[in-house]
């Protein structure tokens, strides 16, 4: 674990000197506790996680297998609810209705819909968000071009390589101009070279669009590329 990991804690980077106010956190988690029943035994996976992420910031979370990284990400995404603790997106309570507009998600297994082509997969986020017009279609094409797939928009996922599929997933995550992207081991199914390229692209896109990023990864090198690197150990972020 690097020094920055051990010292970073869960606070956002401090604001500039001279009394400039810190930017409002996009994500604000306080005291998240989550436990599961395993047989008759209750396993406490998260034991009071605090995390603030501000706009445009990139944070990586590492941890051993089974340490609860994905559980934490699901809580942050509002897909699961904590036993105790509070969570806010841009200062407001988490609501399923806000998810499409507020956050984008990238998964290890891409999860592209196989029956529709790459562009339609990207536009699916806008469809579910309830706004798909000419501007969104144009943005979808631009995003595909930005991830280097302008010529592959009408290809089905089955016709794309793993790296290409993940790039489509990145474009989909950015489609609704979210404030936060949650990426759960996005390079887990890719070779090292492709994985590096995908992380570079993800970080670059988030920086360009001032989108906050929470990246769950096993890869130390990828973690080091984020502005803040945290380690989940025994249910607590350090």
């Amino acid at each position: 674990m690097s020094d920055s990991e051990s010292e970073a804690g869960v606070s956002p980077p401090s604001g500039k000197a001279g009394g400039v106010p810190e930017p409002a956190p996009v994500l604000n988690a306080r005291g998240l506790v989550k436990s599961f029943l395993s047989g008759k035994q209750r396993l406490e996976v998260l034991r009071g996680v605090d995390l603030d992420v501000v706009a445009g910031e990139s944070v990586s979370i590492r941890g051993e297998s089974g340490s609860g990284k994905s559980t934490l990400l699901n809580l942050l995404a509002g897909l699961d609810s904590p036993d105790t603790g509070s969570l806010a997106w841009s200062g407001e309570p988490v609501a399923a209705d806000r998810r499409a507009a507020f956050l984008g998600m990238v998964f290890q297994s891409f999860y592209l819909i196989p029956e529709i082509d790459a562009l339609a997969n990207v536009l699916m986020a806008a469809r579910i968000g309830g706004k798909l017009g000419g501007r969104e279609r144009e943005r979808g094409r631009e995003l595909l071009a930005r991830v280097g797939l302008s010529e592959r928009g009408h290809h089905l996922p089955a016709e794309l390589s793993g790296g290409e599929r993940q790039r489509v997933a990145l474009a989909r995550a950015l489609m609704n101009s979210p404030k936060l992207i949650l990426a759960d081991e996005p390079t887990g199914n890719l070779d090292e070279h492709t994985g590096d390229a995908v992380i570079e692209l993800l970080l670059g896109l988030c920086a360009e669009t001032k989108t906050a990023l929470v990246l769950v990864t096993h890869n130390v090198a990828h973690a080091k590329k984020t502005q803040r690197s945290l380690f989940l150990h025994e249910g607590v972020l350090r």
Binding site: L79, D80, F107, Y111, I113, A120, M124, R127, I128
Partner: protein, 411 residues
């Protein structure tokens, strides 16, 4: 288009795939059910309509009979003609006789008709395929086509008629002398029962053969187009004094048992054949359930992207609906296509099995009639679409119950 409808369409008709196998099989299953329903109800409807047409064409819309004979038919006809809605009337007499030609006997029913008036009530001329009503006089007879074949009698031949009066003459030791009538034509209703067991003579001849004097057995009535036959029968009955012992009955009333059986058979066939659609719907349910299991992680993704459970459910329900609509359209095309060429198909089938004569004898008609009742077609369309949409409910419910976090984690 809402995302769940878009996705339902894409899951049924994936981009870039010309032949979506699951969709095609599901639609075909439903289509076969619809086609069989359309064919069966239309053919049953055709039989029913043919029988109805034939009944009206031979009996008129309303028939008046007395307990015994109607002794003064002219007076009664004049009285009937004054009733609003009555267009024309014609008297008739009827009864069984023996017909002999070259030692071949047949025992048909003989109908005595008023040749000057009958065509105003029942369009018998339409069914006379050889000769005309004008050829019929007191010394002639028109045979049903099958009866003529059974007797071997042709136009110009003379046949001997033995009426029941002749048996009475035997009792009084008189020598029974049959009436000799010349065959002047054949009629063919297309109904084997009528064509083989009915012959037409003039009313006067029938009155003579049965010793009726001027009496008749009944009066057939044609009513104005669009009027209800039952209502007209009731209106006519209201004009009869109780002591007249006359009773008017509509053709619907006279044949109510037979018509009920026809309708009951049609309804039962509709009900039973609808199970084909139900079975097809179960296969749609099964396929969609497999789809839900196979796409568990995609369903999780939809939730993660912000899709609501009810919209996920709508996606699968809409697939059932689309299969129902597609199956109904294809089924209607198949069904009506079959009906369009039904006679060719039946002809080929009967030629192969050499069963044309048996078919005619058994089913009474020389061709396969069909009438597609709009009410039944509508019922088939609505029932099929409702059933297949319901078939999507269970998979939809399963999909909606999936929690995104668990669905995304599933292997």
């Amino acid at each position: 288009m809402p995302w769940y409808l878009y996705l339902a369409l894409k899951q049924l008709f994936p981009t870039g795939r010309r032949f979506p196998f699951f969709t095609a099989i599901s639609i075909l299953g439903v289509a076969l059910g619809v086609a069989v329903l359309i064919i069966a109800t239309s053919v049953m409807g055709g039989f029913g309509q043919k029988v109805r047409e034939m009944t009206v064409d031979t009996q008129g819309d309303v028939q008046v009979r007395a307990e015994g004979l109607i002794e003064n038919p002219a007076e009664l006809q004049a009285q009937l003609a004054k009733i609003p809605g009555v267009v024309a009337t014609t008297p008739f007499a009827e009864g069984p006789v023996g017909i002999l030609f070259e030692n071949k006997p047949q025992f048909p029913g003989l109908q005595g008709i008023d040749v000057t008036r009958v065509d105003k009530v029942v369009p018998i001329q339409r069914y006379i395929h050889y000769g005309t009503l004008d050829d019929l006089d007191d010394d002639s007879i028109i045979l049903g086509s099958q009866l003529a074949i059974a007797l071997g009698a042709r136009v110009g031949n003379k046949v001997s008629i033995y009426s029941p009066l002749l048996w009475e003459k035997l009792n009084t030791n008189e020598i029974p002398i049959p009436r000799e009538l010349r065959v002047v034509g054949y009629f063919e209703f297309g109904h084997q029962g009528l064509d083989s067991s009915v012959a037409l003579v003039t009313l006067r001849e029938m009155q003579d053969l049965y010793g009726l004097g001027h009496g008749v057995h009944g009066i057939n009535i044609k009513i104005a187009r669009g009027l209800d036959a039952d209502m007209m029968a009731a209106r006519i009955n209201a004009t009869f004094p109780p002591q007249a012992h006359l009773r008017a009955r509509s053709w619907l009333d006279i044949n109510q048992d037979f018509l009920f059986v026809l309708q009951f058979e049609k309804n039962m066939m509709f009900f039973l054949l609808m199970f084909i659609v139900v079975v097809a719907a179960f296969s749609v349910t099964s396929s969609l359930l497999i789809s839900v299991v196979r796409k568990t992680r995609e369903i999780g993704l939809l939730g993660a992207l912000g899709g609501k459970p009810r919209h996920v459910a709508a996606c699968f329900c809409f697939q059932g609906f689309l299969i129902g609509v597609g199956g109904t359209i294809v089924g209607l095309l198949l069904g009506f296509g079959f009906l369009h060429v039904r006679d060719d198909i039946v002809r080929i089938f009967t030629e192969i099995t050499q069963s044309e004569a048996a078919l005619e004898r058994f089913y009474q008609f020389s061709h396969l009639p069909a009438y597609s009742d709009p009410a039944y077609v509508t019922a088939v369309i609505i029932c099929t679409i409702v059933i297949t949409t319901l078939a999507g409910l269970l998979p939809a419910w399963r999909a909606a119950r999936l929690r995104p976090v668990e669905a995304l984690r599933s292997e």
